[in-house]
Structure formats: C-alpha cells, structure tokens
C-alpha cells in the first residue's frame, strides 16, 4: 500500500524517478519555523523538486477583520507576524488612518518609528538565532535570545506585553513613552553594538559557516523582482528596494539611514544584509530619540469610526513589505481587508532556491528567507 505522503507527493510533484524519494519536511520539523510543510523529492541527499504546502496556521484573519470594528482588529494584526507585531499593527492602523483622514501627532509618529525599529531589531535577533540553529550552531541561538530578552523587558515596561503588544492605535499609540525610556533604550543599543561585534567574531567569519552559506540559494535580481520579493530578500539580491525610502511613510524621511544591499543574492548576502540592518536600525532609533518632540501621543479621532472608500498602506517589516488594503462601505467594520504578506510571497522561492542543493541547503534557504508561518497563513 502506498503511503499517504507518497500519494500527496505524486499529486504535487509528479511520479518520482526510480532512485528518487519523497520526503515530508514538516509540518513537524525542527527547522521549518513552525508548521510549514515542504514536500521534497530527493535523489540521495540532493533535492530535485520542492514545494511548500501551507495552511496549517490559517486563522481567517481577513474574514475576522470584516466582522469587527477597526479598533477591535488591531490585536488580531499582532497575531499575523507574531515576531514583529508592531509593524503589522502599523500597516493596519496606517491604512485605517488614510481611509478616515485621521491626523497623527508628530510625537506619535516618532514613537511608532522607535518601537518599529526596536521591533525590527528584536525580530532580526530571533532570525539570527534560529538561522544559526538551523545551521547547527546552538550557542549563537542563546546569545541572540539573551539580547532579545533585554529588549522585551523594555517592551514590557512600555506596552505591558512581551510579544503581542496591541500598542498602536488609530491616530497614535496607546500610551506615551514611560519616564526613562530613552535611557533604557540607549543603554540597550550601546550594549547591542558590543554584542553584534561578538556575534560577528563568533559566527560571521567562521569557515564552516561560510562554506554552508556562500553560493547557496542564489536569487538573481531579475528573479527577485519577478517573484515580488521584498525586504532583506530582494536587497540581498542587490536591488535597493526599501519601503521606507521608496514610499516614505511616517517620519522616515527625516532620518539619515542607508539601505544595505548584497552582491550575490545567496544565503550569505541575505545574512549580511540583515546583520547590517541592525546597525541601521540602531542609528534610526538614536536619531529618533534625539529629535522626538513633546506633544500628544494620540491625535483626535472620531468617536464612531465610519469607513468609507478604500485605502492601502505599506510598511517595511523586518521580513519585507507588509501591505494592508481596507475597503469600507460606511460601516464601523471594514467591508473587506486584505493583508499582503511578504513571507507568503517569499515562500514560493523555496522551490527555485532549494532545488539542486542538498537537504541541508534547503534548511539554510528556509532560514535565510526568514519565514513566519503566522504571516504566511494569516
């Protein structure tokens, strides 16, 4: 009797050649970052075909968003990209603000930039740790989590939550920065800079690491554009596309920051891009802390929010371009919400990037495009 996995594999990838084998990588697998299932056709250890099977974490976010008032939806947006909750919230509230022409006070915009960039650091720290873990370097994982822990303490003090913050509101943020926030953050950033140096000495120049990632999973610039990649994935291929620069939102135009890009489009380039983004984010947060004006942390918003018309907003999340499209028909809840997820778009790259490599390379590729399954399935 044929095994279920083989039947599914044949449906998806076709009948295997004589020496080929189907393997199910996931949904329960240590390095698929949640419940991703990758159907692999392998010849020995060489991957000859690969297809991602998703849907294990589908929670009907878009449908739920139609049945709740806009304010009530914000906690749900946290749960899409749960490693970068702030940026998902940001895209959603920004779309709602554009739809209703809500003014956001300047201080609120600065708060958003600060927490958004800190969120990017937190998310990249997780990526760094898990990516190293995928490559078998267990120690790096705990080092990265040590720093993230300090950052989460700051978030906890600010928002009351460590992961799913529910912090941004339409028109601003839920509460103002607490006294001493700037000092806490500055101390953390100084510390992080030292630690990043430590990470580089521990991991970046390592011969084994370099042999595992250089020239693996090469994505050309044309392909990256064709597949609709964004974030560190497209920048790793040498395309300087960053929503913060290409379609400036909030107060990003006031800050001086660069867009790190990679040369080769391989796993190593994407790694280096993310590692440099740490420094860029640190720079942005420092500038924002210096410039932040006094004022309100939330603007004037109508008591009853009626959504009329449509609006689209996009932000640069740690994983790429997150877009939220809201259509309203004069009611308090949206008529339709669409969430554009970078991870979903990047997941289709698994096949092109992973085929021809070994199973171990597949793991490196999955790690390098930084998948969060909560965002893929929504």
């Amino acid at each position: 009797m044929a095994k279920t996995s083989d039947v599914l594999g044949e449906q998806q990838l076709g009948v295997p050649a004589e020496q080929e084998l189907f393997i199910n990588m996931g949904p329960q697998h240590p390095s698929t970052h949640g419940v991703l299932r990758v159907l692999l056709k392998v010849d020995g250890e060489v991957v000859t075909d690969a297809k991602a099977d998703i849907g294990y974490l589908h929670r009907c976010f878009e449908k739920i968003a139609e049945r709740r008032t806009v304010t009530q939806v914000i906690p749900y947006t946290d749960r899409t990209d749960y490693l970068a909750a702030i940026t998902s919230e940001w895209a959603f509230v920004m779309a709602a603000e554009r739809l209703m022409d809500v003014e956001v006070p300047e201080r609120a915009e600065y708060i958003r930039v600060i927490v958004g960039e800190l969120q990017r650091i937190a998310s990249h720290l997780i990526w760094f740790g898990t990516f190293a873990l995928d490559l078998g370097a267990t120690t790096v994982f705990l080092y990265a989590f040590r720093e993230r822990e300090k950052l989460l303490d700051i978030f906890q003090k600010l928002t009351g939550a460590r992961m799913l913050y529910n912090y941004l509101r339409i028109g601003g943020a839920r509460n103002d920065l607490y006294d001493g926030f700037a000092d806490d953050v500055r101390r953390f950033l100084d510390d992080l800079e030292d630690r990043l140096h430590e990470y580089h000495t521990l991991f970046t120049g390592n011969r084994i690491f370099e042999s595992r990632v250089k020239g693996i999973g090469v994505l050309s610039a044309e392909d990256a554009i064709k597949y609709g990649a964004s974030g560190p994935v497209i920048r790793g291929s040498g395309v300087p596309y960053d929503v913060r620069k290409a379609h400036p939102y909030s107060v990003y135009h006031r800050f001086d920051f660069g867009i790190p890009i990679g040369k080769d489009g391989d796993v190593y380039s994407r790694y280096l891009v993310r590692m440099q983004e740490f420094y860029e984010s640190i720079g942005i947060v420092r500038q924002a802390l210096d410039q932040i004006p006094a004022g309100d942390f939330i603007g004037k918003v109508p008591r009853r929010m009626r959504l009329e018309g449509d609006a689209y907003a996009r932000v640069e999340s740690p994983r790429g371009e997150v877009g939220v499209y809201i259509v309203g028909r004069g009611e308090e809840n949206a008529w339709r919400v669409h969430y554009r997820s970078p991870c979903f778009t990047h997941l289709q790259l698994l096949g092109p990037l992973g085929v021809g490599g070994l199973v171990a390379d597949m793991v490196a590729v999955i790690g390098s495009i930084d998948i969060v399954m909560g965002e893929v399935d929504r």
Binding site: P30, V42, E45, T139, I208, R212, A360
Partner: protein
Amino acid sequence: MYEWLLGTGMSQSLANIIMGVLKSLIIIVFLAVSALILVLMERKVAGRIQNRPGPNRLGPGGMFQTFADAIKLVSKEDVVPSGADKAVYILAPLVIFAASVALWVVIPFGPNLVVQDLNIGLIYLAAVTGINVLAFLMAGWSSNNKWSLIGSMRSAAQLVSYEIPLVLTLVAVGMMAGSLRLGDVVAAQQGGIQNWFVFPQIIGFIVFVVAGMAEANRKPFDLPEGESELVAGYNTEYSGFRWAVFFLAEYANLIVFSALATTFFLGGPSGPFLPPIVWFFIKTYAVIFVTMWIGWTLPRIRIDHLMNLGWYVLIPLALINLGWTGLYVLWRG
C-alpha cells in the same frame, strides 16, 4: 583474584569465564557511570558556553538531573513502530552497545589495569569501531522512516571515510611504539612529557582528534542525527530505553575516543605524583572537554564538505604523517 579462583579448586576454563563476566560487568558499570557524568558535564559545559547555568535544580549543582532523566527514559513505554522490521529494530541498539563495550577490552587504565592487553590491540580497535556502522544502518533501515534512512546513509558514508585516516594514524602510532599492543604504546611514552607521542605525531594527533570526533558523531560532525536537518537522524523512531542505549553508546564512543587519544598521544596513564588511573582520567576528560568546547561553538558541517574534508584533507595528511613517522623512526634508530 584469578589465582584465588584457581586456589578454590576451580577448573581453569571456568575461572576464565567468571573473570571475563566480572570484567565486562565492571566495564559496563564504568560506562554507565561515565555516561551519567558525561551527560551532566556536557550540559554544564554547554550551559557555561551559552551563558546559562545548565541543570541546577536536582541535587547539589544539578548533579542528580541525569539520574532523573535516566529513570524517565527507562520507565517509558517501549514503542516499536508498526511498519518497522522488528527483529532488526530491537537488535540495533544491542549491537552498538556491544561494540562500544568491546572497545574497552584493550584500553589500559593503568599498569596492569587492562581487561586483556592483546598483542594486536591496534588492529582490534580498528576492527571493532567498524561495527558501529552496521548498527546505524540497522537502526535506520529497520525504522521504516525516511529521515532515519537518510541519517543512516550519512553515518555509513561518514564512518567509513573517517575510519581510514583514523586507522592510518594508528599505524603511525604502532610504528613509533614498535608494537601493536596498547601496553607497549604506553610504555614507549614513559619518562616525562617529552616522550609523549603528541610531539613527533602532532599531525597525527590533529587528524586523530578530527576523525575521532567524526567517528563519535560529535558536533560539528553530528550529521547522522543532525537535528535541524534530519529531525533526529537514524534514531528518529527510537524512544525510551532503546533510545537511551543509543545515547549511552554515543557517550561511550566519546569516552573511548578520548581515552584512545590519551593512550596514543598523551602518555596514557603516566604522570608524576598522582596514581596512574587518576592521570588517565584527567587526560581523558581534558580531551572530552576540548571536544565539547569545539562542538558547542561551531556550526554543523555539510555532508559533502565532510566527505571532502575526509578524503582530500585528512587522508593525505595522515599519509604524510605516516611518511614522516617512518623517517623519524629511522633517524631515531
């Protein structure tokens, strides 16, 4: 004791059998205790390297944590997967355990502290380490799991290709000592640190440590069970006591390899002031500590790079070492 047994009027063959059983029991108990210590040591060392305390709840400094783990493993339900080849599945852990116990037959803990100082000790070691491959293949094949199968294929490829440099370094050691008996190897290194083989055999030592870590499936060469790639490799389907036996065998292999490194290159049990057996364990555990240190720092190597390292780097190095040893022995006279 042997004489005492004969003195009670026992026949020689019966006395031999009783002595053999006793000695193997001692070895098994020794291995079990070493594994308990090593698991704790591994977790403590890993913890310190990773900026955390490691197990620290049960007993002073978490000393009894491994006992608790062992009790848990032993008391777990014995599961054989429905599609498994039952006989082979059950046999595999026994084979690997027997192989790792058998290695200890020739290792000298101290003067006269050896189960059987065979005059072909080096050849015996090379032969017995080969049995591991068989056990991995049996486990991977019989589990009826594709990850297990890939894991066992990897381990076969890895162990076979790292056996060659390992054996080549053993040959060089044999040339240095002029004997294949481990007791003679130790005797040739007596008389102070300058006589240790590690100095004339520095290339051999490095090759031996790298190949030995690969043989013992230590990180960064833990490909047969590379967790983030193969779930758990050849022992994916094993649980409870059978898995514990694999685990035990793995640590037994680690301590065997370290003991061999000590015996061949670091003077074995010789040393000043302290009794020989203490020196033996100090050196062995020092080697183990270094392998843990390396393992918890480096990322896992990829299977094809592993093969390249074995065939293109270690084997040529081992051959060069062999040639150098020949010249050295000639020059020494």
